[in-house]
Symmetry: C3
Subunit: 206 residues, 3 copies
């Protein structure tokens, strides 16, 4: 099931990358590259941080085709994206949860300690979006708007807690998904967000 | 021959990094660092992605001196750069082709599958320029203007196809170079570029 | 002693990350993440460049808590930061020197050649600040203002020279610290900076 959701998720992430590239008037190559980096960048950074070689996507060339294909396809359907916005956000939320759980599992398999496992989950969940925003020269959105990175954090905690209490893997996946997705959808609906820290001393300018 | 061109290429890339740093009013250290990252960053990212340790330049300290030297030298000759622009673009194009082929060879040696070999070639070809633009806080130029990243892609395809068909290595290098460099020069002359994807929904602002 | 200073240093770096995040109106999660990346990012990039796995902080979860804690604590004391500015710059300078020496030692232990050891020292010293600025979408400050990266460079040179001349490790640490910290403080006091390279051709716009 996780693989199935992963495939849907990287498609959604690739599409969000393509739209961000479109906002910067990039050419087809830029769209394809940023779609790829948004979808697979989180897992890549995680693998490089954990020394988990070979990096996952290098062993699954299909993921390369899928993310680039989804990126280019987004150009065709861009004009309908506003209408598809709610569906898109749902799939994006599924991706966030799936990526987080997959990231935790990779770190668990390599016997890292719990805090590192959580960091690996969050990295997989949000770093694709961070790379997308860095490539598109804007401040990472995932750290500023409705709960996103925090959902990844809470899902990682919940998933590890349920493993700790010996909950069956499938049940754990189900609970973590329902929790994470509800949380994200609720945050979008009711504009839940974390408190913002605004700091603007006079002497700084950049 | 490839080593010879590689040396010319990292010099050209270092100079392009230095000029970008100059546009951001960086100090000498910034110029040196960005020259270094532009010239050797593509290969470094490739090595880190492929787990190809030790990273190439760490075994050739000469490359460090050369790129930093080229970067600082650029400051001296900056006022002539406009007149040298065509030479510069030619050398930069040679670098693009040389980097792409070297990147493919590294991935081939490590037995990665064809799509990953192509990605390794492109990464080596264009990621130095992407790091340069991220360090200088601008949207990556290689994804927006005349064919650049696409030339890297086509060179990688051609080079691998000629290997597949058993073409002699030196002949392959010659054909790939002539093709890639002509392509890039033609793109600059006649302003060939890929279609651009422009997306600007109302509800987004960043 | 170096460990003791390291702990103070990552706290200072985490705080500088939190303030930068505050200037971009990030939420609590963004503050925590950028604090973490500023404090431990330099060492992480160094470990990934040198293939020094497992990455240091993954073996010391305490560092994760400390940097995130320091980042969040910064929000509470932000309004006093201007008054604390001189103390902050002192601690930040200590961090710069400590990080540089630690980075050199890691590369020495892995038997890299001298120029690579220096690069490892500088990377550890300044890359956390560079990642902070990239995440906050601004041009890296460490390459533009009063001597900072250059201090890291000179400390690395001095530290290695003293090792070469067989100076006792503790004495070496003392000398390198006094030199590096004086240099940085003097640069701040008398606004020492490297010459700036300004390049602004007409035909470029970005």
């Amino acid at each position: 099931m996780l693989t199935y959701i992963f495939v849907i998720a990287i498609t959604a992430e690739a599409m969000s990358g393509a739209l961000a590239a479109g906002r910067r008037n990039m050419d087809l190559f830029g769209v394809a590259l940023i779609a790829f980096m948004t979808a697979l960048g989180g897992g890549t950074v995680r693998d490089m941080l954990l020394g988990n070689y070979p990096v996952t996507w290098t062993q699954h060339p299909l993921y390369i085709y899928m993310t680039i294909g989804a990126g280019l396809f987004t150009i065709v359907i861009a004009k309908y994206m506003r209408r598809l916005n709610r569906l898109f956000l749902l799939v994006d939320g599924m991706g966030l949860v799936a990526f987080t759980i997959i990231g935790c599992n990779v770190a668990l398999r390599l016997d890292y300690e719990t805090p590192v496992v959580i960091m690996a989950g969050i990295t997989t969940g949000i770093f694709g979006g961070i790379l997308r925003d860095i490539m598109c020269n804007r401040t990472p959105q995932v750290l500023r708007h409705e709960l996103y990175a925090s959902v990844s954090f809470l899902v990682a905690i919940l998933y590890l807690a349920l493993i700790y209490f010996g909950v069956n893997e499938n049940l754990n996946l189900l609970i973590s998904f329902v929790f994470g997705l509800s949380m994200r959808m609720a945050a979008l609906k009711w504009k839940w967000s974390l408190p913002v820290f605004s700091y603007s001393p006079d002497r700084w300018n950049d």
